[in-house]
């Protein structure tokens, strides 16, 4: 099926933004929660400290901002692209997060996860070669 180059470019851009904001949001939340430290929610005071820590953390607010931008881009791209195209393509987040976590945060990534990252990339590549919309009316 032919799909206008401009629309394909628009779709790729939005999916790239989804991956960027989704990955950044998750990584910022992770950084914020690690700064707060291990959570003990056994007591009411523990819960209060947890919420105080969460809402006073700049990292967590930036993470929430990233995830809101992720949601906005997800909604916008679905106004023309197939859900069955966008959802698997957006799964690139699962490949980017371990990669960035390893490179920037020095996290250890198990070999099984690297295999998963590779399989996701192949899957996203296959989906990416199909037409972004199969229901679009000209």
């Amino acid at each position: 099926m032919s799909f206008p180059a401009a629309l394909r470019a628009k779709t790729y851009t939005l999916i790239a933004l989804i991956v960027l904001f989704g990955s950044a949001g998750n990584l910022l939340l992770s950084r914020g929660m690690k700064q707060i430290g291990a959570v003990r929610v056994g007591s009411a005071m523990g819960l209060v400290r947890l919420f105080m820590g969460i809402f006073s953390s700049g990292w967590i607010w930036m993470g929430i901002g990233g995830l809101l931008l992720f949601l906005g881009c997800f909604m916008v791209v679905l106004s023309w692209a197939d859900y069955s195209y966008v959802a698997p393509a957006a799964a690139t987040v699962y490949a980017v997060v371990p990669l960035v976590g390893h490179l920037l945060l020095g996290e250890k990534v198990a070999p099984l996860r690297w295999v998963g990252v590779l399989i996701i990339c192949v899957g996203v590549g296959l989906v990416g070669h199909t037409a972004p919309s199969t229901t679009r009316q000209e």
Binding site: G72, F74, M75, V76, L78, S79, W80, D82, Y83, S84, Y85, A87, P88, A91, Y94, A95, P98, V109, A110, P111, L112, R113, W114, V115, G116, V117, L118, I119, I120, C121, V122, G123, V124, G125, L126, V127, G128, H129, T130, T134, T135, R136
Partner: protein, 124 residues
């Protein structure tokens, strides 16, 4: 896997996928976004939250979230999170049956690979 785990896993996957399909349905009703000025985008997203489909989506995604939390209260996270990668395959079926999308063999193959890959990343 117990019957209780299977039921809650099914609720989690179906509610999350159903929620995203409802978001898609809501956004398709608005038509293709062509104006990317920030003000126009905020107006559109604001209007989207007045659509019935969007409220159905919020309801389903909330159900999916609490079903996941409930599931995690007794089942192992190393089983639950990878198992929710089934959502991609269920989403493909939902997109075909409920949104009328035409999924080629290449797209199906990609969806299955993404499901397997996400399950491995979450299990690793």
């Amino acid at each position: 896997m117990t019957i209780r785990t299977a039921i809650f896993l099914a609720i989690t996957v179906l509610a999350n996928t159903g929620g995203e399909i409802a978001v898609t349905r809501a956004m398709k009703d608005f038509g293709e976004v062509r104006n990317f000025r920030l003000g126009a985008l905020f107006t559109l997203l604001g209007r989207a939250f007045h659509a019935g489909w969007m409220w159905l989506a919020i309801g389903l995604l909330t159900l999916g979230f609490f079903s996941l939390l409930t599931l995690l209260s007794w089942a192992d996270v190393s089983f639950v999170i990878p198992a929710t990668a089934l959502s991609y395959v269920v989403g493909g079926l939902g997109a075909k049956l409920l949104l009328g999308e035409r999924l080629s063999p290449a797209r199906w193959a990609g969806i299955v690979l993404v499901s397997v890959g996400v399950a491995l990343v979450c299990a690793g």
